[in-house]
């Protein structure tokens, strides 16, 4: 029983994160990541 849980858990987690990933895409988060990534990040540089 314990062995079976340990074998199934990664796949349950995989499905969970896949769902989160797809929901994120559908909420328009891909564009949000792009908008942030194409602007020079002053915080990263250490001046903003």
């Amino acid at each position: 029983m314990e062995k079976s849980t340990s074998r199934n858990l990664p796949f349950l987690l995989l499905i969970l994160f896949l769902v989160l990933f797809i929901v994120g895409i559908n909420l328009g988060e891909v564009s949000a990541v792009w908008e942030k990534a194409v602007r020079v990040c002053l915080s990263c540089i250490g001046i903003g």
């Binding site: 062995k3 340990s6 074998r7 858990l9 990664p10 796949f11 987690l13 995989l14 969970l16 994160f17 896949l18 769902v19 989160l20 990933f21 797809i22 929901v23 994120g24 895409i25 909420l27 328009g28 988060e29 891909v30 564009s31 949000a32 990541v33 792009w34 942030k36 990534a37 194409v38 020079v40 990040c41 002053l42 915080s43 990263c44 540089i45 250490g46 001046i47 903003g48």
Partner: protein
């Protein structure tokens, strides 16, 4: 295997930083690839960066969540959390060893001949405090009058950002140099401290501070791909510990939080077959024990 890992690290470094037009544009790459996160720590404001930094993106979602919700944008960072979760669930902390440019740099600097030292074990838990505070709590709850937070880890800590974005962009855009103040010089000091530590300590940033490594490490025990330790075969020679680029004592247990699955212990260190691999609980290709090999080769009687 170790040569293969080195080559993958080199290829990954160049794939993560493949935009070499910056000497002419004097700016960062702004193409559509930037909407995809890279699996390692690579600042998206590095002029050559082709992808987004997952840590920076996560902090940005936390920092802009309140005004976003007020404006009807339901962005919770699920795209990035899902991305990191998928990788973590499949291979745990493996990206740290195979594709992270900052980890690669630390391994190279550690090759500088010097007296090597080990860090106290409690320091490896510090990265979880940085993950919780600097990536989630502070960006989410310390907000300005308009409801915006800050990307705290990028702003006050990240030495990868200082190295890849700070120093390079200052070189490319002279106007930025005039804006450099106490904050910038403070970050440069952090970078210098870590660069020095890298000479004496195995991957100090990964082990002590890296929030991305902290996220992946949470999956080490539950990932599809796992390492297995056989205490019956282990002779406690500690060769795995001596060879480990993260200073992990594998003989104390497999899949510890700092195990980055570089495979060095499995492939090179252990001569007794005490280390093996499994995918979804199914063992794969056990290494034959040295003793067994010798016994098989020895003439009978």
């Amino acid at each position: 295997m170790m040569h293969l890992r080195r080559w993958i690290q080199i290829v990954s470094l160049f794939l993560s930083n493949a935009s070499w037009t910056f000497p002419f544009t004097r700016n960062i790459y702004q193409g559509r690839l930037k909407s995809v996160c890279v699996p390692g720590l690579n600042c998206y404001s590095c002029p050559a960066a082709t992808g987004a930094c997952p840590l920076g993106s996560l902090q940005n979602f936390a920092a802009t969540m309140r005004p976003g919700l007020e404006a009807g944008r339901f962005h919770f960072g699920l795209y990035v959390i899902g991305f990191l979760g998928i990788i973590g669930t499949l291979v745990g902390r493996m990206p740290c060893a195979w594709v992270c440019p900052f980890g690669f740099m630390q391994e190279l600097i550690y090759k500088i001949p010097s007296r090597k030292v080990e860090i106290p074990k409690f320091l490896i838990y510090l990265k979880y405090i940085f993950l919780a505070l600097f990536v989630f709590v502070l960006p989410l709850f310390v907000i300005d009058d308009f409801g915006y937070g800050m990307t705290w880890f990028c702003k006050y800590v990240c030495p990868a950002g200082t190295l890849e974005a700070g120093l390079t962009m200052m070189g490319l855009q002279p106007s930025l140099r005039q804006m450099a103040g106490l904050l910038f010089y403070g970050k440069v000091v952090i970078l210098i401290v870590f660069l020095l530590l890298m000479v004496f300590i195995k991957r100090p940033f990964c082990r002590i501070l890296c929030p991305l490594g902290a996220i992946y490490s949470l999956f080490n025990q539950v990932s599809v791909f796992r390492m297995v330790h056989d205490p019956d075969k282990c002779v406690l020679c500690q060769q795995c510990y001596k060879d480990c680029p993260m200073g992990v004592r594998f003989y104390e247990g497999a899949n510890q939080i700092d195990c980055i699955r570089c495979m060095k212990c499995y492939q090179e260190s252990c001569k007794y077959g005490a280390i093996s691999l499994e995918v979804a609980g199914i063992p794969i290709r056990p290494v034959p024990r040295e003793k067994e090999k010798k016994e098989a080769e020895a003439p009978a009687g």
